[in-house]
Symmetry: C2
DNA sequence: CTAACTGCAAACCTTTTGCATTGAC
DNA sequence: GTCAATGCAAAAGGTTTGCAGTTAG
């Protein structure tokens, strides 16, 4: 299991391939999204970007995130509102997102994708629906918090 | 498979059980949420409510939806942004939500929950995570649109 | 060169809040 | 009667847009 660190090489390349111009601002934003250790909302992206380039503007962040979203290079998540109303952005890792959100410590983990094929096959067979992008979000209690809870009940 | 019509008796009763006062406005809102044929966003809820009671105010709709959300009686969904940025509300059917969103016709279906136990058991065994609320959203092509596509390729 | 992109500021839209009043229990 | 809930209006918050200047390709 990994903790939200996708070694997702080549967002910039994929942006270029889709015809986007690789401006300085976009290079910063792409790098931020690629190396993020946690899910970022628009404001966090803006703050981190501003730390690297004082002149970057909120509007640019919004415009870029929207563009990436429309191209399907980035996805917007609410993580079941466990952390309030914020919306988070992440590079689209594949066609599958699985997020385990701990309601106790707010940590988000992304488990391995072992059951993806089962899930997809079942939906295709039983419902005639052909899944293209799948999002699975579970809110619950993570292993660490379960252990803590067991120690101090 | 059903089409987003949950015979979900008793939202009002559950509200009362949680200590909420059953005002005229809340009765209208509860009925709307219970009988909705499709997922409603806040503005739609407001418009439908206004049709039944001219004096009802947006603030009341927001306050009520928030209250229901915090109590876990209602959930907020983005349905993978297939229909833009709108957020939808639905009565929490159980701890499990499965939505199949067709990217072609925008229809949302909710399949039967046969694989729920598998999914939960696997996450619990493989990741030590205890799921409490599970949301599965799939964007793809529904059976009807696949058939249409097959006829006119 | 030129179309795409940016910064800026204003506009926009959705949601929240303070306050006086109303109404459920 | 009391406290929660409402309507109203104003504020807040987050996001988008028009425009003029800049820059990647």
């Amino acid at each position: 299991m990994r903790h939200c660190t996708l070694p997702n090489e080549g967002l910039l390349e994929r942006m270029k391939a889709r015809g986007l111009r690789l401006t300085g601002q976009r290079k910063i934003l792409a790098e931020l999204l690629e190396t993020a250790e946690e899910h970022l909302d628009a404001e966090s992206v803006y703050q981190l970007a501003k730390a690297k380039d004082e002149t970057i503007h909120r509007a640019t962040v919004y415009r870029t995130l929207n563009k990436l979203k429309k191209l399907g290079l980035v996805d917007e998540l609410d993580l079941m509102h466990v952390s309030g109303e914020r919306h988070f952005y992440e590079i689209r890792p594949s066609t599958l997102h699985i997020h385990l959100v701990c309601t106790t410590c707010k940590r988000v983990d992304e488990p391995d994708e072992a059951f993806w094929d089962d899930l997809k096959r079942r939906v295709e067979n039983e419902n005639g629906f052909r899944p293209e992008v799948v999002r699975v979000e579970m809110a619950g209690v993570c292993a660490a918090c379960l252990r803590k809870r067991a120690r101090r009940p």
